[in-house]
């Protein structure tokens, strides 16, 4: 349980900005007027960034991590290929991050989001809401069940399509770890064509966001599985005179 874990203290190691996308990436057009132009102000983290809100397992409903059923009518289920997404949340030192709140959202199997501004013509699935959440266990592990999201067109270039993906919002143990990212699926031919994937600066970075088909966790006659590990900022350990923190 989140409430019983030991406190983590100590500053965060600097974020490797060369590994993350730049703010200004003109092929992704919306970034042009929404990217700060001045240099970021750097300073070591303080308590304001090293602490973060706590989320208990008590807030999670039984179906929150089951997107096939959490919006479906009784006895119904969402339409589409059923998948399990699972993995671990670790920090840069390889330590598990227990008690991390993950929120995820996605288009339905046809590629359509449940949003009034959505313009894609694919059908809405009345039994699919498109969002879920869970909290990592003591070993940093998580899993949820959903349907494979469809690729979809979006207004950027004349004919840009997003590869199938799931959005992730992650809380760690410090507000400096706050992260939103996306998970892609192994083998999707749209990955190298997408301007949003294209803001990533290396094939390694793209690979880190691409989940592999995991036949070990696939459930016969039910759901395929994909494994997706998430890495958050690492924290230095602070030595206290009255207590060897983490040592």
């Amino acid at each position: 349980m989140t409430e019983t874990r030991t406190p983590n203290l100590g500053g965060f190691v600097p974020r490797d900005r060369s590994w993350h996308p730049d703010a200004l990436t003109p092929p992704y057009k919306t970034s042009v007027k929404r990217s700060p132009q001045a240099a970021l102000l750097s300073f070591p983290t303080t308590l304001s960034e090293e602490t973060s809100p706590m989320f208990g397992h008590g807030m999670i409903g039984a179906l929150d991590n089951d997107l096939i059923h959490n919006y479906a009518q009784s006895g119904q289920s969402a339409i589409g290929p059923r998948i399990i997404v699972h993995g671990r949340v670790l920090d840069e030192m390889g330590r598990p991050v227990p008690g991390a709140l993950l929120e995820f959202w996605q288009a339905n199997a046809g590629g359509r989001y449940r949003h009034k501004k959505e313009k894609y013509q694919a059908a809405l699935d009345p039994n699919f809401g498109g969002c879920g959440r869970t909290i990592t266990g003591n070993d940093g592990a998580y899993e949820f069940r959903t349907v494979m999201p469809g690729p979809y067109p979006w207004p950027n270039g004349m004919n840009d399509w997003r590869p199938a993906h799931i959005h992730f919002s992650v809380f760690g143990h410090g507000f400096a770890q706050r992260l939103i990212t996306q998970m892609y699926f192994e083998g999707d031919p749209l990955i190298p064509l997408c301007p949003i994937v294209g803001v990533l600066k290396s094939q390694e970075a793209i690979d880190q966001l691409t989940a592999l088909l995991d036949m070990h966790r696939t459930v016969p006659m039910d759901a395929r599985a994909y494994k997706f590990d998430i890495v958050l900022r690492g924290r230095r350990q602070t030595y206290f005179e009255n207590r060897a923190e983490g040592l």
Partner: protein, 204 residues
């Protein structure tokens, strides 16, 4: 061969996209799935200190309000204590969550937080910082979430002694970090992503 530093790389950031609200504030988009959105209430009972409202709008480089942004804030209680497991200096106000999440209004883009004026928090070296709120902004077109801080213009003395604010080279940009007092207990903090009034964003 020498040993390798086998640290992992942080998962690279990607934009929150236009539909961040489906995942983070589903009720706001009409998806009634959890019985309420997280972060809408920062007070769970009577709180200590001065109750305030912080509101504002995020503007792009053309001065257009963002209507698809999500803003989160994180702050200590009126005594400067965080309601966090990582807080070891004392027990924070049990009726204050410290964390707020607000989507911009779908028409005007305005965000709003019903909170308390934060107390002061020390730097790691013990020097006191001026009262502030940590803010984080994500939206379509923002490739990595933007961190900033909300200070208060009516804390002039604390602000002028603040180690971070006083160390900023371009002092003419400091006002971009100050919430303006609009009425008693109401502060406005507009965020400009670009332009002459570009808010100072942090690499933390």
């Amino acid at each position: 061969m020498v040993q390798r530093l086998d640290y992992l790389k942080e998962s690279p950031s990607q934009t929150a996209g236009p539909y961040v609200h489906i995942g983070c504030t589903p009720n706001f988009t009409g998806i009634d799935i959890y019985g309420g959105d997280l972060g809408t209430k920062m007070k769970t009972g009577p709180v200590k200190g001065q109750e305030i409202v912080i509101k504002g709008t995020v503007f792009d480089g053309t001065g257009t309000p963002l209507r698809d942004a999500m803003i989160e804030i994180w702050q200590p209680d009126a005594a400067g204590l965080f309601p966090s497991l990582n807080e070891t200096r004392g027990k924070a106000d049990p009726n204050f969550t410290g964390w707020g999440r607000s989507p911009g209004d779908m028409e005007t883009g305005e965000f709003s937080f019903d909170t308390v004026k934060p107390g002061a928090v020390p730097m790691p070296d013990g020097r006191m910082q001026a009262p502030h709120v940590t803010a984080w902004i994500v939206a379509r077109g923002i490739n990595i979430g933007l961190h900033t801080r909300i200070y208060f213009e009516d804390e002039a003395e604390a602000n002028s002694a603040d180690p971070l604010l006083s160390g900023i080279e371009h002092q003419n940009r400091v006002p971009t970090l100050l919430a303006r007092k609009e009425a008693d207990g109401v502060y406005r903090f507009d965020i400009h992503l670009q332009g002459p009034n570009e808010t100072i964003f942090f690499d933390i």
